[in-house]
Symmetry: C2
Subunit: 233 residues, 2 copies
DNA sequence: AAGTGGTCTAGACCACTGA
DNA sequence: CAGTGGTCTAGACCACTTT
């Protein structure tokens, strides 16, 4: 490790990244080809390839056949977050978790929901509303619709015992999903439910997931005021 | 392609993923080892390894030496988004972009900002405030502090021409960063600046970036009401 | 047409970690 | 200590793009 010869792809990865951070290779610059780097670093081309592939995956470089590898002219920055199950999130704060089921009924959804779930307006879906508490304080208000055609098993689950949030995450795989965040003012009904005053600013997230071409569920979570969502860059 | 033998890692990746979605291999299940899968699919172990590595990276499976590969019991869901430069974001909506520099001054920051930038309370930093417009409507209010010790070059940039947002993204690399989102009510000052009424709910994001152990910049963006931030799962 | 990245292979050795 | 994933190598062929 002390000498100059590095053989792991992580070492190569770091060397190249350092050259980019140093601005030895500034944005837009064409960096040496894989064979050349392999010679320079004294390793196989495959190893250099692995290092460069990781850098490309995180957007640090752009690669094109024949054109070569260039340091990316950052046009966007990627942000990422791990969204845990609500119970885990509450318990991670050292608070006691509890949730209360307000509604659990199969019925006809609004046109907007039917469209989101891609079901006919005449079809039914499972509507669930609940409040999640942290140390007996309202933390999140959940309004969820589940496509029972996709997930018929949900009807046999006791959703007063296990929250739909948790059961779905653990038992239902999905192939794609969307997650939208916005700020909203509390209305009278929500303010009452969460014990807030009207017109407070709260963060809301709407998540919709799909299994192949069939919708699974769409859920809107309304967080208590002051809630912060953290991401990594 | 028409026959059953697949040789690319993407094909192997998809076959395995399908077995997981099918619940052929339910959450928690131990799936066959790399050598076994390589035999079954008629390819090299390296290729299976590549496929499984991608699945592990996206959290679909958990891998441990000796213990083998298991289908992940999803405890978290990862969400991702590409955050573009503000100008690009506005122009992507088909709107005309313009920004107005409200302040551009080197001065002593508040204690909170000094702490965030990890500089002494007596040191100075560059304070920038501006408004970004979409079709002449206020879109984002920006409040930024730049660590001039880390980025001395910033002093030579005409920030009335090129927004700090854009210049930094294109010219300054970073090694890590944090991104925090929350909902806030507009105060009187902000309402005036953006032409809003008081107490409207707006989304704010605060981003802080680092170059090795030195802070680069911390910026708070306040989006106009109704703004939605989209993520992929 | 030629150059560069993308990937596959077969074999080898290493590094963890569970039994 | 033995089994499984993690990685490296050398060579080969392929696929995409730019020239």
């Amino acid at each position: 490790m002390a000498n100059g010869r590095a053989h792991t792809w992580q070492d190569i990865h770091e060397r190249i990244k350092r050259n980019i951070i140093n601005l030895t290779w500034p944005p837009g610059e064409l960096i040496p080809g894989e064979v050349e780097l392999a010679q320079e670093y004294g390793c196989a081309r495959t190893t250099v390839n692995r290092a460069l592939r990781e850098l490309a995956a995180t957007g640090v470089v752009d690669r094109k056949r024949k054109a070569g590898t260039r340091v990316a002219k950052q046009k966007t920055r990627q942000v990422r977050a791990e969204i845990p199950v609500i119970r885990t999130q509450v318990e991670a704060q050292g608070a006691a978790y509890r949730f209360q089921l307000l509604e659990n009924k199969i019925k006809q959804p609004s046109k907007a929901i039917a469209k989101t779930l891609n079901i006919k307006a005449s079809e039914v879906a499972l509507h669930i509303r609940s409040i999640h508490y942290a140390d007996e304080l309202p933390f999140i208000y959940e309004d969820r619709w589940i496509n029972v055609k996709t997930i018929p098993k949900i009807k046999q689950v006791d959703l007063a015992q296990t929250s739909a949030n948790e059961w779905l995450v653990q038992h239902v795989p999905f192939t794609s999903g969307e997650f939208v965040i916005q700020a909203q003012n509390t209305n009278k009904k929500l303010a009452m439910a969460l014990g807030l005053s009207v017109d407070e600013a709260i963060l809301t997230s709407t998540r919709t997931t799909w299994l192949e071409s069939k919708s699974v569920t769409t859920v809107t979570l309304k967080y208590s005021p002051g809630y912060q969502m953290h991401f990594e860059i």
